[in-house]
Symmetry: D2
Subunit: 386 residues, 4 copies
Amino acid sequence: MLADIRDASLQARGLERIAWARRSMPVLNAIAGELDLTGRRVGLVLVLEPKTANLALTLRDAGAEVIVTCPASEVADDVAAALVSEGVAVLARSDASPEQDRDSALRMLRQGLDVLADDGSRVVRLAHAADLLGGLLGAAEETTSGLHPLRVMAGRGELRIPVLAVNDARSKYLFDNVHGTGQSCVLAALDLTGLQLAGAVCVVAGYGYVGQGVARYARAFGARVVVTEVEPFAALRAHHEGFEVVPLLDACPEADLVFSATGVAHTVTREHLRAMRPGAVVAVAGGVPDEVETGDVPPGVTVLAEGECVNCAAAEGNPIEIMDLSLSVQALAVEHLVTHGPAMEPAVHLMPGELDERVARLKLRALGIGLDTPSARQRDFLERGL
Amino acid sequence: MLADIRDASLQARGLERIAWARRSMPVLNAIAGELDLTGRRVGLVLVLEPKTANLALTLRDAGAEVIVTCPASEVADDVAAALVSEGVAVLARSDASPEQDRDSALRMLRQGLDVLADDGSRVVRLAHAADLLGGLLGAAEETTSGLHPLRVMAGRGELRIPVLAVNDARSKYLFDNVHGTGQSCVLAALDLTGLQLAGAVCVVAGYGYVGQGVARYARAFGARVVVTEVEPFAALRAHHEGFEVVPLLDACPEADLVFSATGVAHTVTREHLRAMRPGAVVAVAGGVPDEVETGDVPPGVTVLAEGECVNCAAAEGNPIEIMDLSLSVQALAVEHLVTHGPAMEPAVHLMPGELDERVARLKLRALGIGLDTPSARQRDFLERGL
Amino acid sequence: MLADIRDASLQARGLERIAWARRSMPVLNAIAGELDLTGRRVGLVLVLEPKTANLALTLRDAGAEVIVTCPASEVADDVAAALVSEGVAVLARSDASPEQDRDSALRMLRQGLDVLADDGSRVVRLAHAADLLGGLLGAAEETTSGLHPLRVMAGRGELRIPVLAVNDARSKYLFDNVHGTGQSCVLAALDLTGLQLAGAVCVVAGYGYVGQGVARYARAFGARVVVTEVEPFAALRAHHEGFEVVPLLDACPEADLVFSATGVAHTVTREHLRAMRPGAVVAVAGGVPDEVETGDVPPGVTVLAEGECVNCAAAEGNPIEIMDLSLSVQALAVEHLVTHGPAMEPAVHLMPGELDERVARLKLRALGIGLDTPSARQRDFLERGL
Amino acid sequence: MLADIRDASLQARGLERIAWARRSMPVLNAIAGELDLTGRRVGLVLVLEPKTANLALTLRDAGAEVIVTCPASEVADDVAAALVSEGVAVLARSDASPEQDRDSALRMLRQGLDVLADDGSRVVRLAHAADLLGGLLGAAEETTSGLHPLRVMAGRGELRIPVLAVNDARSKYLFDNVHGTGQSCVLAALDLTGLQLAGAVCVVAGYGYVGQGVARYARAFGARVVVTEVEPFAALRAHHEGFEVVPLLDACPEADLVFSATGVAHTVTREHLRAMRPGAVVAVAGGVPDEVETGDVPPGVTVLAEGECVNCAAAEGNPIEIMDLSLSVQALAVEHLVTHGPAMEPAVHLMPGELDERVARLKLRALGIGLDTPSARQRDFLERGL
């Protein structure tokens, strides 16, 4: 079996951590028994840690041959060892160079995948560039920033496979982007700095799902939150939710903590950094490369995690209950592409509503939350229109 | 000029109240100078009070001949008198019978309207039923519950004119439905009952835009809020925002205050009412007829405003800053139908994005809120996709 | 029996409203059965409405002869008529002149009271000035602003009777001042103005119990709240709870709504009013005369309720669940003065802790809230100190 | 000089961390220049980390001879090395046994201290037990749980020196206990568990200052918070702030996360632990030994940090801005005892109000927050009483 890992002897600890995480993943557990991927080869790109490892095991249990890759900075070597011991092919080691990371991805692609589940669309784009699409039926992509370049490619007619936008599933972005990233970014920033948020001025650039989450959690911790936006409806919403809204440059001088949550490069520029006072701290929530310009940071200003996504860099990512939702959507996306990929256009597709809703209903069941059901008189009202 | 009002001598007070309201309507003021409706005849159906009267005057100033009707229970006679003194045709009096209300609507339709701006779609449906569509280019409808039957008609192929869904404009529902109705319903219920919300259990049936607003404002007042839903994503969102989510019948026994915010008939049934304890209070937020079954309310339980929309019945509706947005969208919708109605399908159409955004930008300008503008490097990033 | 009321024929409506209020006063109900005031004469000064009327009836049921007075602006004539029909002496009519109000108070004092329960300490001070203390055993006073001058008198050696500080009971100020006044002031201001708080700038002068309540409720409604203070700990607390803290004059230019919650005269001066923008609204929460200087209000600025306590002037005062607590403390204070007054110094006394706690426990029982009881091991820990 | 540390070579890193912390301690910086402790010997007991080290350096700069001890589990060896290099005597190493810790404390006491600043009152009690009070003028104690046994001793007439209750200074408990401990406990629990609080049920036992902080922060993170109490006013306050209040045993079955914030031993007993569901997590906020009975934890239930104070055990304690306040009070307490100790009774004394207020005013100045000053007319009103 294909394996390039750092230390096979770490498997016991990895297995234990994977099993511990599994206990808090009731949705993936429920889906696991119903998936059928017999005889398929699936490539997985993901931050390799105990939660995501359970996606790999779930796909394997469904009959797939699974190959995992992951850039060196995001590999937990014990988890890698554990997966190999469980029959999953892993090309991921924490001591790899960027060139080795790229070679691992190419090696995975050359095996001939049926489906690729990507994270950041790095490997989908590599497969296009290196002409290794082969018999790939389609890819699933789970981040906002990974979907953006694929949509640009689709707009130019350059996308050659169907892509399922896992990120845009409601059971993903309504929870992962708002609550998962909101909680984990605020926590990571506080952990790294030891700051007290109560009474501090916290600036949030961007009021999309991630920005809304960060703004809410920061306010919850007692910060006075100032929002900056380029889009009028988002600005008005922030205003009506009681946040001050101003241009970013005007907000910088009094900021104690600045989160960039735009997913757009060059959001926090040198000019902004120079407008901040000594002691100011800057962090990226979610994020793309160069979202903060880290080339020339003035003395006294700190950019956390060197400008990379603060919650990824500083901790093990989003909370497990939220990951349970996102990884479950990912699993259903893989199965959907196996079945329907051949008939799908080479475009970015939304997740079918019934799969999305299935995840939500399984989560409600796991939480023990009961819904009402419309009565016959109510259904009649809805159909009749009056 | 067409006029059927109760007391023309009340005009002075009406004019004063209309002028006072106008001071807080900067968006409508900004739009007013740019509208052109020369030679058009516009029918307006609205709750007749100082804020809405300013829409009538704005359309008149733009060159239109304006005819207003309104059911007796929603007429402010001084405002009616004031509009007539300003050259607006008004068929609306607070002492009219339901038959007279219907006759007024028919009389308005028989004048031959170019455009109809409706509220609840009562008159659009009457025009279909009475075969009085004549040369009507289209209608604007500003409520969720008014759009629902029109969409059912469209689905059956029975809608014969284009309808602009003013309610579905973002500058309407993101603010009017959440904040306007949220604040006004909670206020109205507290005014009518003298209840203290701090520590009370407040049940909110339905977690759409109105329900979210009501739940948030009730929690803000210290209530422990329980949400009920039929839709899984809405239920999960409520759960993640810290609300308890249970079936309505389970929530009734401990409720101090129940809001129905579903817009669906028969939401709070006799069975629910019987499950409540003495002292419980029920109110409808937004709402449709029979949303609460008021036929057999048990002793000790109070249904506010006889089951009608509590904020409409108990006060003068939504706050003026919010109405400024909604009425501005309505004004732009009328102009759009005049220009583009002849080319539009007989269906329910969304407001064009640029009109919606124009309202939002005018509101931001009135608030003195500045937006950022993407830099050249950011625009390049967004186009390039990476 | 002594009676000077406006219209005895209104008694039926008054009785109905008093009975309706009684249903929501479980604490006063529980206390009622245990009070004994046989043969005592008690003077009551209070805003005369259905909730306070129940205090009068409770004292009467305990055997006291009760005499009620109230300034004209705070009299509900139907409630006055109802009390008379129930055997309570009432000298209070809504059409009285200030001189008549004063005469009524003097007439009450001349009857020879055992105990006086006052509101604002107007009648206690009148009794001192007019030398009508007679055999008065003591007085109870329920407002912050009424206690202040009595404490000044005590400091100068001019207070000649013991006074129980009902306002300073924890079951009063922790709930009435924060939640009762907080909710009712924000509601009253919104009702009077039709303002939308979401996105508005609301300035709260003073961060004592009332100011904390107002600030919290205003923020809950989506306002951006700015606090002003003269006391450093209060200022720091406001800061740590996420409020901006600045001097009042600096806060005025951007205020949409200003609440004065200091209980100190001349808080909002002409200079402050002149610094506000057109459309600004000013209200007094709680309050003393001249807290806002209303002599020369600039055009465009509105002072609600002519600068009097906005929640008293605009509605029927605080919510009933809260009044139940405050009136129960008042009832126990009257009984305490009857029994212990003769032995008490002429000073301002705190309520005995056990009476205060009794009210709190009765409220918890009415709410169905269970407390834990320290176990034997815990009591041992607490005594042993380790 | 007296020194028993683990590794003197770590001094460079320690010095750097101490200097970095100093930048965020403006209040201690401002006080530093005004203290005079020339020729005095001061014993310090504290968690030895960069923030507290600055207190030691401040006292040294004021002319004192300073001796520091700290239990092994709370020693940062690099900070210990740095202090020694700066002329502070340190008896603290991370590899000491409990016996060695006790010996270090005795050794410090035998030097003959003028003042002792303690943390948990362990060394004050040891000094009494070992009869080593010598010429000790007094002690400062900064925790709630350390003061409790000293008050019991005072009550029994066993306390032989004056103790200043640093913990009870308003500039300490209003911020450190509510915001500092509230934020750090919630953060620590989330870091240790990876839990998502949004939608989780969080039980907080005890609604004192620490409990209020924890409850608020947990709710801010989206949890549904249930409070348990033994004291009726605290229970009523929690209820009015929108929390459910129930007995602890009733709250256990649905808890995801339980915080004990009572400071009383045996709060969470075996019976409570057995009532929890698998996956439940228990943490102590603040805390005393045996607050959670860890002897027999059922499988599936996790007690964080083995039942010790979760924020001390899991991270570097409270945020620096808050510690700046607490350590400043501690510094002023030491100086006060040097000057006034000889004249003070052997009892637990509150901090003099003017010292407490001085800290608050310095913090406001550091934050750039301006207060209002009562005008002449306002001072007149306050004195006159009307």
